[in-house]
């Protein structure tokens, strides 16, 4: 049976289902809360050259695009001559994988009839990797935990017991971290089974023809989309809070016909703390932003990702050099799309949103008995929270919604069962959306208090407190974030702090920027916003010019 273009289309479609099954297997067996709850994982199929053919649509663009690059590192480091049936490769090297030690990437070479034809790869955020734990306080990556270089997790079907011993001895949760390593390997195995079924059905023995079909179709569609972007050079810059000092992000976007380059020359240098981004993670988020705006309908694969050429000079905060600390690289990474879209806006007006809260306000709460002698157990509580997104050219921003990340929040009722805390408030933050013809999304207000007998610590990793999200085309800035006690006393936006029993932590999450002149906003809409309490009376008058 010869392979027709229709067959290739059907197989391409099937591959998406294959990698979805691969991802589903991982979500259902992983230990890590962020994998199960927030879809903090990635899974995909690669051809034997290391080109990504298909990828599951999961929660985080940071993984999605970073993993696409990682397989070529494996192929190079291990070498085809050392790649055997039954092998499983592994790393958590931030510069070879997805940007921090907590993400473990597992790559399984695929064989058919004894011949190496491709790879399955997957990435997940594990519960613990040793070191200081998940937080920005390390001075070097060595303090952040155990680094597993690119190596074999299994060699011809035999698991590397020394590696397992090493991991077990170096992490706080040996069963769960090692368990997740096995989950990752198992999910590749699930994908492989389904792939082999498909190859039986279509009677093919290699992926070359199919891969070529996918790469060519995707590349062509992407280049066509890029060609529609007016040629030119576009600059944008943005200042965000950073950890110890403000960070300037600078990007130059060059479009020439079907060629598109984004370069971050001019961006601030590295931080002393773990908010630095390896370049791979920066590329992932920059590429995600560009793809959303330019070619959203083209599926993720090497063919559709490669036309976006993205670079940052080594040594800047967006291309951190070894051995920089990188544990909480997501804060800077999540902000990258805002500056990239700012540059693209000049090329493609009326396409991209205003700036948003962007970086998640995740909070890890460590509840500790006020009296250590009380015998009460320690408890850990993790919450994912989002501020407002920027207004769109013809739509308001989304309130309390993650962008560019795609994670979900957890139920407060469920959270209160996990640890001894009361969340007294988690509601929209009135007046925090940037004014505009289209209003920025609102941030949210969260108030947390420890239950009787407990104090709690939390690790602040919050941005957009000093530097709120800016509006576009005359739109106003979103409300800046704030970290304080509910009595109004200020707390720091970064670092570990203690909230004593009886006090309430109050987080005010930033809102998104507005789009267009607020005085052009539909008057009925302004009145409706006022009636709903999305904006205050002062804002209605002063920003929107509403006569009451």
């Amino acid at each position: 049976m010869s392979v027709s273009p229709i067959d290739y289309q059907i197989m391409w479609n099937r591959l998406i289902a294959v990698v979805e099954e691969q991802a589903t297997t991982l979500i259902r067996t992983a230990f890590s809360t962020s994998v199960r709850e927030a879809g903090d994982l990635s899974a995909g199929l690669f051809d034997r050259q290391g080109r990504m053919m298909a990828q599951a649509v999961t929660g985080t663009p940071g993984h999605v695009n970073a993993m696409a690059e990682s397989v070529t590192h494996f192929a190079r480091e291990i070498g085809v001559q050392n790649t055997f049936e039954g092998d499983v490769f592994i790393t958590n090297d931030p510069w070879m994988g997805t940007g921090h030690l907590h993400d473990i990437t597992v790559v399984t070479p695929v064989f058919r009839k004894g011949t190496h034809i491709g790879y399955f790869a997957c990435t997940a955020h594990v519960v613990d990797i040793g070191g200081r734990g998940f937080g920005p306080d390390a001075g070097e990556v060595f303090e952040e935990g155990l680094l597993i270089p690119i190596t074999k997790f299994a060699d011809c079907g035999t698991v590397n017991s020394l590696l397992i011993q090493l991991v077990r001895a170096n992490v706080r949760t040996p069963d769960q971290t090692v368990g997740d390593m096995y989950s990752l390997a198992a999910c590749n195995e699930a994908g492989n089974r389904r792939l082999q079924d498909m190859m039986d059905e279509f009677a093919i023995d290699d992926l070359d023809g199919l891969s070529g079909f996918i790469m060519e179709g995707s590349r062509k569609a992407t280049l066509e989309a890029i060609s529609k972007v007016p040629s030119g050079t576009y600059h944008a810059s943005m200042t965000v809070d950073g950890y110890d000092a403000p960070v300037h992000m600078v990007v130059t976007l060059t479009v020439e016909g079907a060629q598109l380059k984004a370069d971050f020359t001019g961006t601030s240098g590295m931080s002393k703390f773990g908010v630095n981004c390896p370049e791979v993670y920066t590329r992932a988020y920059a590429c995600y932003a560009l793809k959303c705006a330019i070619a959203p309908e083209v599926p993720n694969n090497t063919g559709s990702l490669l036309p976006f050429e993205i670079s940052a000079p080594e040594g800047c905060i967006l291309a951190a050099k070894r051995p920089a600390p990188v544990s909480t690289r997501h804060v800077m990474g999540h902000l990258v799309p805002d500056v990239v879209l700012g540059a693209l806006h000049q090329a493609m007006p009326d396409t991209v949103p205003a700036e948003g809260a962007s970086a998640l306000w995740n909070i890890q709460i460590s509840a500790r008995p006020s009296d250590p002698g009380s015998g009460l157990p320690n408890r850990e509580v993790l919450m994912f929270n989002s501020g407002g997104t920027g207004a769109r050219p013809a739509l308001d921003g989304m309130s309390a919604t993650a962008f560019p990340s795609g994670v979900s929040t957890m139920s407060v009722e469920a959270t209160e069962h996990v640890g001894p805390i009361t969340v007294w408030r988690k509601d929209l933050r009135e007046g925090s959306g940037g004014a505009g013809k289209f209003r920025g999304g609102l941030g949210q207000t969260i108030e947390i208090e420890a239950r009787d007998g407990y104090d709690f610590y939390f690790n602040a990793m919050f941005d957009r407190i000093a530097n709120p999200a800016r509006g576009r085309d005359g739109g106003g800035a979103g409300g800046p974030g704030a970290v304080e006690l509910s009595d109004g006393s200020k707390l720091r936006g970064k670092g570990r702090q203690k909230i004593e029993n009886g006090k309430r932590l109050k987080l005010s999450l930033p809102g998104g920027g507005g789009y267009g002149d607020p005085r052009d906003r539909d008057r009925d809409q302004v009145r409706a916003d006022l009636e709903a309490g999305y904006i205050t009376e002062d804002q209605a008058k002063a920003d929107y010019g509403l006569e009451l």
Binding site: N13, G59, A221, C292, E413, H417
Partner: protein, 695 residues
């Protein structure tokens, strides 16, 4: 004089109102167009027609069982009551903030579904119950009174009340509701601790809001329906199908209409389950394909799989997360946008894509000749010879092969530089792929191997696609039951009276407290029994206890079926073992040394039905003499094959025809591919078996 053996099932769907009348002489069915302004009129017309055909007086009807999609439509179209929502201070926006994520990653212009209650109509009171049910902040009477006044001043028709952790302690919700009922006895009031007593505020609040939103309208409709039935001489009691696959009284349905949302599809699943039992099959996958969507459900040991949360009114390409979550017992289905009317197009990569956009019934597929210009799955089936143009819907809609070819050529073939027959193959393969993939993912998520299932296929489009789907899924046996066009209505007649009562009661297993669980279960049983007694007071009943359990720190529970009896302190080990067994089934392993917790308990009480009569099952038989033939395109073979064409009426029990074959009947055709044979069954079903399958 009414006869308890004469029963009628009525299903109101989006296009048709189906009626199935069961009487001592057999089954009489009918289809009439749904009447949106007066749904009860279509019901009466349908019943009269079916009764007339069976020569039965209306007064003889002993029971009317009803299910409807109208409640779902009211939510989708946002036609509900002027509604206020009262909640705990600090949580006014739970239903607006949703899960804080985007269900589509790459769409910069995504819009999230707006809550059913706008922010200005959402009010808060100062009160707070903790996770363990203790009161952290007591609700003051003065505040209750002020809120009553606010609601009265606002002129609301209905009120939903949802407080934090009310599933653990409903006292504050009850206090608020009583004050409202006292002040305004006619006001519709729904409280979350009654409508959906489960942990997770977004789902629970949304469920109570959905209930309050449709309650006045549904109560009004059901009242009119019962009155009209009485007027026409039908004195029979009326019962409603609920989403969980059982029957409840009209009164319960009027108070808790949110339980009716998935009544139609639940009827379909019960219909399939009945055939699973008749054929002695313990693992069945039901496949229901209509004009716009396809639904898939797992049925094990004759029972459709149920869940306690689902999503209605998806707003974005049927994507998970784009609708409203509702936490009430439901037959669990996967629904995808794939049906006969699904439109095919070419995307930027030159790929054929099918659905979820549908040509619906107006203008319908291009071949209907009603102005539809876009190629649909039905057009592709026609072009491939799988449909008889002169015998579609019993000849009621003449199909134009010319129009189908034209649409396939202009919108697909010309763009891709391929023949329109190749484009047609691409369309059917793509839609079959989409359905197969959804079925596969659903079984994987449930820790099952799809190869071990038998498919039961019904709905207008299913017999055309089911055999190819089985080829793709590695399924060896497929049943096409008779009466498949009105499957849901027939399913209503096979459903037990049942009620699932549930309660959020959070406990870590190492702190398991038998007494509080026993007390809660006793309440659940009393509650559920009372509902069942409304329809089947003297019936023998069965109980099924499910605990929703998880490892500490995990986000989602798994259902663990437990023996229903008084628990002892020492039962911790039994609970752990049951959990581990269920966990292993789903995930293939367990996690040592991690604490286990229970979040919800649910108890289902159901009337026990008589055993289903076994179908005379034939795995082989005598061949028919060759007669008419028809050519169709066999997808697995990638070529057109000459198939035997047989009238369904000729497929008597024990008749076998080897594929390729087409079995034709009034409403649709069953395609038997070259890899399968079809055998007539004692109960009028068709059994398709893969050639060479181990029987």
């Amino acid at each position: 004089m009414s006869n308890p053996n004469i029963r009628v099932g009525v299903d109101i769907g989006g296009t048709f109102t189906d009626v199935a009348l069961q009487h001592p002489g057999g089954l009489s069915t009918g289809k009439v167009l749904t009447n949106y302004s007066q749904p009860e009129q279509a019901i009466l017309d349908g019943i009269e027609r079916a009764a007339g055909a069976a020569a039965i007086e209306l007064g003889e009807i002993g029971q009317v069982i009803h299910g409807t999609t109208l409640v779902t439509n009211a939510l989708i179209e946002r036609r509900g009551a002027k509604l206020a929502f009262i909640t705990t201070e600090g949580f006014r926006d739970v239903v607006e903030m949703r899960s804080e994520n985007r269900f589509e990653q790459y769409d910069l212009n995504l819009t999230l579904p707006a809550p059913l209650v706008a922010r200005k109509d959402r009010f808060t009171v100062n009160e707070r119950v903790a996770a363990d049910g203790s009161v952290l902040l007591a609700l003051q009477q003065a505040e209750v009174d002020a809120m009553v006044q606010t609601v009265l001043d606002g002129g609301y028709e209905a009120v939903a009340i949802g407080f934090m952790h009310a599933y653990a302690n409903p006292a504050h919700e009850q206090m608020m509701a009583e004050a409202l009922r006292k002040a305004a006895p006619d006001l519709s009031v729904s409280i979350s601790s009654v409508i959906s007593p489960q942990m997770r505020e977004f789902e629970r609040f949304n469920t109570v809001i959905a209930n309050a939103y449709v309650q006045p309208q549904v109560a009004d409709y059901l009242g009119r329906l019962v009155a009209r039935l009485r007027d026409t001489g039908i004195q029979a009691p009326v019962f409603m199908m609920h989403s969980g696959g059982g029957l409840i009284s009209v009164e319960t349905a009027s108070a808790e209409p949110v339980r009716l949302l998935e009544s139609g599809p639940a009827g379909g699943a019960i219909f399939a389950a009945d055939f699973a039992l008749a054929h002695g099959l313990d693992k069945v996958l039901s496949f229901d394909m209509g004009g716009t969507t396809a639904k898939i459900c797992l049925i094990e040991n004759g029972t459709p799989k149920t869940a306690n949360t689902f999503e209605v009114a998806r707003t974005y390409r049927f994507k998970k997360g784009s609708g409203m979550p509702v936490s009430t017992p439901v037959v669990e289905m996967v629904e995808i946008g794939a049906g006969g009317g699904s439109i095919a197009s070419v995307d930027a990569m030159g790929r054929i894509q099918v659905g979820p956009k549908s040509a619906a019934s107006e203008p319908g597929p291009a071949c209907y000749q009603r102005g539809g210009e876009e190629p649909t799955v039905t057009d592709a089936n026609l072009a491939l010879g799988r449909l008889d143009p002169d015998n579609f819907a019993g000849g009621a809609i003449p199909l134009s092969a010319e129009n189908a070819h034209q649409a396939l050529h202009s919108r697909l073939g010309a763009k891709l530089a391929i023949e329109s027959s190749d484009a047609a193959f691409g369309v059917t393969e793509m839609v079959d792929e989409n359905m197969a993939n959804a079925a596969r993912v659903h079984t994987v998520e449930n820790g099952r191997d799809i190869e071990h299932f038998t498919m039961v296929a019904f709905g207008g489009g299913a017999p055309l696609h089911a055999c190819r789907l089985c080829e793709k899924l590695g399924i060896e046996a497929l049943i096409i039951p008779p009466g498949a066009g009105v499957g849901s209505a027939i399913g209503f007649l096979k459903a037990p009276f049942s009620y699932e009562a549930s309660r959020g009661l959070f406990q870590r297993l190492d702190e398991f407290e038998a007494s509080s669980v026993n007390a809660a279960l006793k309440e659940l049983e009393a509650e559920a029994r009372a509902f069942v007694a409304e329809g089947a007071a003297d019936a023998e009943i069965s109980t099924k206890l499910t605990a929703y359990m998880r490892y500490s720190g995990q986000g989602w529970e798994i259902p663990v079926v437990l023996p229903y009896r008084e628990f002892q302190a020492g039962d911790r080990g039994m609970l752990l073992e049951a959990f581990e067994q269920a966990y292993r089934t789903l995930f293939g392993r367990i996690i040592d040394d991690l604490a286990v917790e229970v979040t919800n308990w649910s108890l289902t009480v159901a009337s026990v039905l008589p055993d289903v009569a076994k179908a005379g099952r034939h795995l082989t038989g005598l061949p028919l003499a060759p007669g008419k033939t028809r050519d169709f395109f066999d997808a697995a073979q990638r070529r057109t094959v000459t198939a035997q064409e047989i009238e369904r009426s000729a497929m008597a029990p024990g008749v076998i025809v080897e594929g390729p074959a087409v079995v034709v009947e009034n409403e649709t055709s069953t395609i038997v591919t070259s890899a399968y044979s079809v055998i007539g069954q004692g109960d009028g079903s068709l059994l398709l078996l893969r050639k060479g399958a181990v029987k």
